[in-house]
């Protein structure tokens, strides 16, 4: 046995990998790390306990993984998979088969919410509860150690009983919690999992040597009886699981049972619960029992088959009131599943007819929901439930942890109850995603774990990918830490970025007398003065001790750039005293050697230098006086201040000012049920209210140099660069400092041009600077003449003044927008004047996807419907609190929705079907009402061409007239069915633009079947594939779009198969408009392709090269800054040929010139290609050669196609 500090995912997969022969995998949060580790271990040849190296195969979906797993099991291999949420649901059809055929296997599930009114990646039991009827046994772990141990128990019991198991634990709370874990050795695993049973499994495999038929079709005569054959197998499960648990206990001393009881031996009030919440409940019950309360907790581990006898054994006979807690919601049911099972078990046991007899009186049983989507579940809530059970008439159904002011289900509770061991050190750290805070804390936990302390770490991440904030919760102590909830009162609070201390909830986490460490560039003497009022009040009121350091300066001088992790970690050890200094510093350095050793001696040396410099740079801040400032309103006041700081403008919609503002201020947990939409519908365009100011350096315009080409705004991923032109006299009202230049366009005299940067929303990615075609000039800095020159273009990165920017933006928004009918849509220069209706998303700085979406919204936004596959674009496109799809000044804009990952093409087709249907209805009714409405208007509407922007404007005008006329008719003759009918669908008379948007994971893999079908449908839908060549959102797993030779997760040894040519597949239909584009290589071609796709009256497919953080590119130390240059290289090397296929003319156009760069000029810039050359240069060279050959062959094919006459392409209508 080895003691390690790992998370629940690693704990589970450590056992699962070593006990299985085959892993069939597919990425889904929060289970992906299990699959990633399995793939990585397999690629390094790590063996399992049976002497082989497990085969790890990524499938196209969870459905595919389940299918492959089923087959592999039938082939006699021990096979496993890892999944969560809707992924598990995709496995259901196979789960019935696997269970029905009595096939031993274990699915390891990091249990997660299901997408209902909204998607959530966080933890609860909604997914596993949806498979409780499949026939799988279900075993639930509550902690990191259990996730390891019960993974083994599940495997042993599965082989013993021949029944498949779902082994699950709470997503994020357990899967991502770091804690101590005793890992079982290979020998121990072998002693716990019988090899004879493995042999027996193999012996049952399908084999032509002993052929059988399995999977017959059965008729009414036998199906029923055959279904009942399995009962004895289910009956054997509880005993088999307990046997495996007992074997584990005798080996390790760790005792488990199917149902464990904790608390007062004669408890009257008992909670029944499973998962990590059981730990909190058990600890609280223990605490309360120690204070004389007769309370207890039954922790459920085996949920299916439900072990009623074990429940009755565990439950004290004294229990008269029981609350059963479910971490799921089953709308419309009598109660949630665990509640119903417990109720049934008790009712049966207490029924007079029960044998061996009703020794028991039926207790009162209530059912409650808690913790959905990782909602906190705390000791205070547990105590609140026990209190409720003491009431004369406890609520039969309840919720805990929220305020339900709609149905009144929620129980009150006092959240200040603190039951934690005083010997445990609690520390909370607030950092930015980019500063390394979380990795430093993970390191600290390992250091303390190695030093013999018990340690726990849990990390809360942001909903945004750029400028994200992280909160780390760390506990250390002499005894095991079992507290699966966030720290409320910390003895140490690290504030790793100065601006964060202004958020009220940061110092809210500080216990009285706590130590605070602030990273600030302000010199020691000025730190106190620099603090915001809320922070000063909190420091004084709670008598906090404040330390400060300029960690960025220390890190920079050590050559670590913006990574302040090592510096702040050292400060933490220096101040907190969790380890003596002479022990801590060597331990930090040893940890640095361990974590950075594989990155080279230089990286290690720099970090060591940072450790040495950190302590010297640390100083204690004198807190003047001890008087709490007058007017300090305590914690609640701090909360109010936080809300005020969300700084939502007064003219924002009420929903934004109340609900959105609360979420922005970190107070979303306080929102009552009534505040939230019941159907998951939220207002558009809320990202504009969240001024994040995440970058100190932003795009800055130089009007004198600018040639007004529009390239900068064309590439801007966050739509922060806007252009307009306007009569020059409007400038009379402009605020001082508002920038403008005479419009550089013929035929429009006396007009000025302004390029306005929305600096508060800029991420400072620098794509615009790279795109600016104005030659670099050396400009002497104004402040220090003669101090040398800095390179300068028409757009540059520079600092900004918030007040000035706000004034400028406010004035800019009063300026007229360009008339869409007069804008040249066909040029980049013209397109810059189209208002983006996709803005300020939370995508990564420099994102390669969002410029395409912004362009889509500019071109077609006011009649656009977007079906968005799950993935990056659904997250930055639809993750609360604020979302980027917005409206124009008329209130029109893209209507956006996300269905699932796998079904997006079909979902979008549905948009089209409905639009077509309602258009047909509108046209019919319009014809019927021709005379009443007016023949001219009706004829014009019905015959209007709708392809050009001026035609859309004219049609929209006509439809407005129509609705006015219909309103009159309705008033004249109220309730006329055809008038009402037409009114309800008249909007469809303006042609809708349906776009189906998603990434390569969707288009090439999980959604490929649906996409293929939709492309074959002939319907007028447009598909935009944002091809990053990996599953970007889940962290860079390989898809079928991943290129040959690239390293990705699930292709850790390099992708061995070339990328699928999706374009050629679609062209083969003959009826599909197809384009492959890369904005950075040819923006004009991108523009043309999107417009042609939209104009084509049939299915269109546009595949867009999207550079991504997972490619590993940077320029001058700035991530993704060279993204557009990489697009150029991809095209110039022939890797990404630009093409268009027009099914009307049946012409295949090769838009990019012959390859003029070697492939290595493209691949050499990207870490994903370089990795393999480091780890396996032989294979890397071989794959690079094959990739070159592949490109040559494809180019030849394309050239041949470009030379073909139309007769050699299939006709759209199927004719020759």
């Amino acid at each position: 046995m080895t003691r390690v500090t790992i998370d629940g995912n690693e704990a589970a997969v450590s056992a699962a990998y070593r006990l299985n022969d085959v892993c069939c995998i597919y990425p889904i949060t929060p289970s992906s790390p299990m699959a990633e580790l399995a793939d990585e271990w397999s690629s390094k040849g790590r063996p399992n306990v049976w002497g082989g190296v497990p085969t790890v195969v990524e499938m196209q979906s969870e459905g595919g993984a389940a299918g492959a797993l089923h087959g592999s099991l039938q082939g006699g291999s021990l096979t496993t998979t890892f999944t969560a949420s809707q992924g598990l649901l995709l496995m259901i059809p196979n789960m019935y088969k696997i269970a029905g055929e009595l096939t031993p296997a274990v699915f390891h599930v990091a249990a997660r919410s299901l997408a209902a009114q909204g998607l959530s990646i966080f933890g609860d039991h909604s997914d596993v509860m949806a498979v409780r009827q499949t026939g799988f046994a279900m075993l639930c772990s509550a902690s990191v150690q259990e996730a390891h141990d019960l993974a083994v128990v599940a495997q042993a019991a599965s082989l013993a009983t021949r029944l498949p198991f779902v082994h699950f634990f709470d997503g994020f709370r357990t899967s991502h919690e770091l804690n101590g874990c005793e890992l079982l050795s290979d020998d121990e695993l072998r002693s716990l999992v019988s090899y004879d049973l493995v042999q027996a499994h193999r012996a049952r495999a399908l084999s032509p040597e002993r052929p059988v038929v399995r999977g017959t079709a059965q008729n009414p005569d036998v199906y029923f009886q055959a279904r009942e054959t399995v009962n004895p197998f289910y009956a054997s499960v509880p005993a088999a699981v307990q046997t495996a648990m007992s074997a584990l206990a005798s080996l390790t001393g760790r005792e488990y049972s199917l149902m464990s009881y904790h608390g007062h031996p004669q408890a009257e009030r008992v909670i029944v619960i499973m998962g990590s919440g059981a730990e909190t409940a058990a600890a609280t019950a223990g605490y309360l029992a120690g204070r004389g309360q007769r309370v207890g907790v039954v922790q459920v581990r085996l949920f299916r088959p439900f072990p009623a006898a074990a429940l009755l054994d565990a439950l004290p006979a004294t229990a008269t009131r029981i609350a059963v807690l479910d971490r799921t919601k089953e709308p419309g049911s009598l109660g949630e599943p665990l509640f119903l099972d417990v109720l049934a078990a008790l009712a049966e046991a207490c029924s007079p007819s029960s044998s061996p007899g009703p020794g028991r009186r039926m207790p009162l049983v209530t059912g409650g929901r808690y913790g959905l989507s990782s909602k906190e579940f705390t000791p205070g809530m547990v105590a609140g439930i026990f209190d409720e059970l003491s009431r004369p008439a406890p609520r039969p159904r309840f919720t805990i942890g929220i305020t339900d002011d709609v149905s009144g289900s929620s129980l009150p509770y006092d959240d200040s109850l603190d039951i934690e061991d005083p010997a445990t050190t609690r520390a909370v750290f607030f950092g930015l995603g980019s500063d390394g805070t979380v990795s430093a804390n993970k390191n600290s936990i390992k250091i303390l774990g190695d030093a013999g302390q018990h340690a726990q770490g849990y990390f809360v991440y942001d909903s945004k990918k750029s400028g994200s904030e992280t909160v780390s919760h760390l506990r250390f102590g002499p005894r095991p830490v079992s507290a699966p909830y966030l720290i409320r009162r910390a003895g140490f609070v690290g504030v790793h970025h100065a601006r964060l201390i202004g958020r009220g909830e940061v110092l809210d986490r500080a216990a009285p007398g706590a130590v605070v460490l602030l990273n600030t560039p302000v010199p020691p003497s000025a730190v106190w003065e620099s603090l915001p009022e809320v922070a000063r009040s909190q420091i004084l009121a709670r008598k906090l001790t404040l330390y400060a350091i300029d960690a960025n300066a220390v890190a920079r001088s050590a050559g670590l750039g913006g990574r302040v992790n090592t510096v702040l970690q050292t400060c933490f050890f220096a101040i907190s005293g969790v380890l003596p200094a002479d022990e801590a510093i060597p331990a930090i350095k040893a940890a640095i050697a361990k974590s950075y050793g594989k990155r080279g001696p230089e990286v290690v040396a720099r970090n060591n230098a940072a450790v040495d410099a950190a302590v010297a740079g640390l100083h204690r801040v004198e807190v003047p006086g001890a008087e709490v400032p007058a007017g300090y309103a305590g914690v609640e006041g701090a909360a109010a201040l936080s809300l005020a700081q969300a700084a939502i403008p007064a003219d924002a919609p009420e929903f934004v000012r109340t609900v959105t503002a609360a979420m922005l201020a970190g107070r979303g947990d306080d929102l009552p049920v009534s505040a939230l939409p019941a159907d998951g519908t939220y207002p558009s365009g809320t990202s504009r209210y969240e001024k994040r100011n995440i970058s100190d350096l932003v795009a800055v315009w130089d009007p004198d140099l600018c040639i007004q080409c529009g390239n900068c705004s064309f590439v801007c991923p966050h739509s922060v660069i806007r252009s307009t032109f306007y009569p020059s006299d409007l400038l009379a009202d402009a605020p001082d400092g508002f920038q403008s230049a005479p419009l550089d366009s013929r035929g429009l005299p006396d007009r000025d041009f302004t390029l306005q940067v929305y600096a508060e929303d800029c991420t400072g990615c620098g794509l615009c600077v790279e795109a600016c075609p104005v030659p670099v000039r050396g400009v002497a800095p104004e402040t220090a003449p003669g101090a040398g020159t800095t390179p300068h273009k028409a757009i540059n990165l520079g600092t900004y003044d918030r007040g000035q920017v706000r004034r400028n933006v406010a004035f800019f928004e009063t300026l007229p927008l360009a008339d869409r009918s007069r804008v040249d849509f066909g040029t980049v220069r013209g397109a810059q004047f189209l208002q983006p209706l996709f803005e300020f998303s939370g995508a990564c700085a420099g994102c390669g996807e969002t410029p395409y979406l912004r362009l889509l919204s500019q071109l077609f936004g006011d009649r656009l419907m977007v079906a968005n596959a799950t993935g990056c674009s659904s997250i930055y496109g639809g993750n609360l609190p604020t979302t980027p799809w917005t409206t124009n000044r008329d209130g029109r804009g893209p209507a956006w929705s996300n269905s699932l990952f796998e079904d997006n093409a079909e979902f979008g087709l549905g948009f089209r079907l409905a639009a077509d249907q309602q258009l047909a209805l509108a046209r019919t009714r319009l014809g019927e009402l021709r005379d009443e409405v007016g023949t001219d208007l009706v004829d014009e509407i019905l015959s209007a061409s709708q392809r050009r922007e001026s035609e859309y404007a004219a049609q929209r005008w006509r439809v407005t007239r129509l609705t006015e006329r219909l309103a009159e008719l309705d008033a004249e003759n109220p309730g006329a069915p055809s008038v009402r009918d037409l009114l309800s669908v008249a909007d469809h008379l303006v042609r809708r633009s349906v776009w189906i948007v998603g990434g390569d994971g969707w288009a090439y893999d999980i959604g490929a079947g649906g996409l293929d079908h939709v492309l074959a449908s002939g319907r007028d839908v447009n598909v935009l594939v944002l091809d990053t060549e990996v599953y970007s959102n889940t962290g860079g797993q390989a898809s079928k779009a991943t290129p040959l030779g690239a390293v990705a997760k699930f292709a850790a040894a390099g992708k061995r198969v070339p990328k699928k040519d999706l374009a050629l597949q679609a062209i083969a239909y003959g009826s599909v408009y197809v384009a492959r584009v890369a904005m950075g290589a040819d923006p004009q071609q991108t523009l043309r392709a999107l417009r042609e796709a939209e104009a084509y009256d049939g299915p269109s497919l546009v595949i867009a090269y999207s550079h991504c953080i997972a490619h590993g590119i940077e320029k001058d130390g700035q991530l993704l800054r060279n993204g557009m240059d990489q697009q150029y290289r991809a095209v110039a090397s022939g890797y990404w040929p630009l093409i268009r296929y027009d099914p009307v003319t049946r012409a295949f156009l090769l838009d990019s010139p012959r390859p003029r760069l070697p492939l290595s000029a493209y691949t050499g810039q990207e870490l994903r290609f370089r990795i393999l050359a480091r780890t396996d240069p032989g294979v890397a060279a071989q794959l690079a050669e094959r990739a070159e050959e592949e490109i040559r062959q494809r180019w030849t094919t394309y050239e041949e196609m470009a030379a073909r006459g139309p007769e050699r392409f299939p006709a759209a209508d199927g004719s020759a």
Binding site: G433, R599, C844, S1032, T1034
Partner: protein, 338 residues
């Protein structure tokens, strides 16, 4: 016709060596060179500094975006970014196989740290390199570094590498020493198996229009060969180690001239880049043809034949004055006539 020669204690089939350059950077290139008949190849230099730089950059890229977003705590599978030159070692193995038995593959090393020099040299030996060329590219940027200290660096590196490996070690140096001859002698005494004359330092260009500084590399031309040839002439017979000439080899005549000056081998990259790897065969044919015309039957007969006279031209005041007179005659009259 016996073209064979000895270099670094190795027997080569002829004195033409493909020096470090793009052609020798792939196994395919090495194969083509061997097919064209070269006597040996020198692989491009492994630059330790560059490895360190790449490792640091890649390590930064690998941690980019990590631990920021709950669904993607990292973006690439765990990979190692230590500056260990797997690719280079792989190239040695591949190039050795591609070159075949009769064509030694010489690895070239440009280290920065003491550990780097010896560790990488050892690894090169293990990977099958026939010899190592130390490309000591050291420009003391600090104007106050004493000349002796700078020179000592060369010998110290050589001694430590020699102590670490069994295979022969050559040192490639530049001409910018106060006394290049003494430097060569010091290296010879310190155990160098060969000297390669001379390194061509990369130099920067300033573009006054764009205010940019570029670090370019120009192919050498025959006009640049006089300096190394003069020093080879001078050192021939005065040092025990082999002498390799490099720079300015375009035609067979240039090869012959270097051999006459006393070179054991003659290296070229520029000519092979300009004309392709197969051009090595033309050079060798040209050399053999010249030897035939001049009545030589082996390279040994002609090596250093003119070293005494050619060598005198360098330090001798007489030769210098005579050269000035010739130049005045040639260019002065040209100026008058224009």
């Amino acid at each position: 016709m016996d073209l064979s020669t000895r270099y670094l204690g190795l027997t080569l089939r002829n004195p033409l060596v493909a020096s470090a350059g793009p052609v020798t950077s792939t196994a395919d290139g090495v194969r083509k060179l061997a097919d064209a008949g070269v006597g040996a190849v020198v692989l491009p230099s492994l630059f330790e500094e560059q490895l360190n730089h790449q490792a640091t950059r890649d390590s930064y890229l690998a941690s980019a975006g990590t631990e920021s977003f709950g669904e993607a705590l990292s973006y690439l599978p765990g990979a190692e970014f230590d500056p260990w030159p797997h690719q280079y070692l792989h190239l040695i193995e591949q190039a050795t196989a591609a070159a075949g038995a009769g064509v030694p593959v010489i690895a070239s090393l440009n280290g920065v740290s003491p550990g780097g020099w010896t560790d990488y040299a050892t690894a090169m030996q293990e990977a099958g390199a026939a010899a190592i060329e130390l490309n000591i590219y050291y420009l003391p940027g600090d104007p106050l570094i004493p000349a002796r200290d700078a020179e000592r660096r060369y010998t110290e590196i050589l001694i430590s590498v020699k102590a670490a490996v069994r295979i022969p070690v050559a040192v490639k140096i530049g001409p910018y020493f106060s006394s290049p001859g003494e430097m060569a002698t010091l290296l010879d005494r310190a155990g160098a198996d060969g000297l390669v004359l001379f390194n061509r330092f990369l130099q920067t260009d300033i573009n006054p229009e764009t205010f940019t500084v570029s670090r370019g590399f120009r192919l050498s031309s025959p006009g640049e060969s006089s300096l190394p040839r003069a020093w080879i002439s001078l050192l021939h017979g005065k040092v025990d180690c082999s002498l390799a000439a490099t720079t300015g080899v375009e035609r067979a005549a240039d090869v012959a001239a270097y051999l006459l000056a006393g070179a054991d081998v003659v290296m070229t990259t520029s000519a092979l880049l300009r004309h392709g790897p197969a051009y090595a065969a033309d050079l060798l044919d040209g050399l053999a043809g010249w030897m035939h015309r001049k009545g030589f039957t082996s390279v040994t007969e002609l090596r250093g034949l003119l070293s005494a006279e050619a060598g005198l031209a360098v330090p001798g005041r007489t030769g210098y004055l005579s050269a000035i007179e010739q130049a005045t005659h040639a260019f002065g009259s040209a100026q008058l006539s224009s």
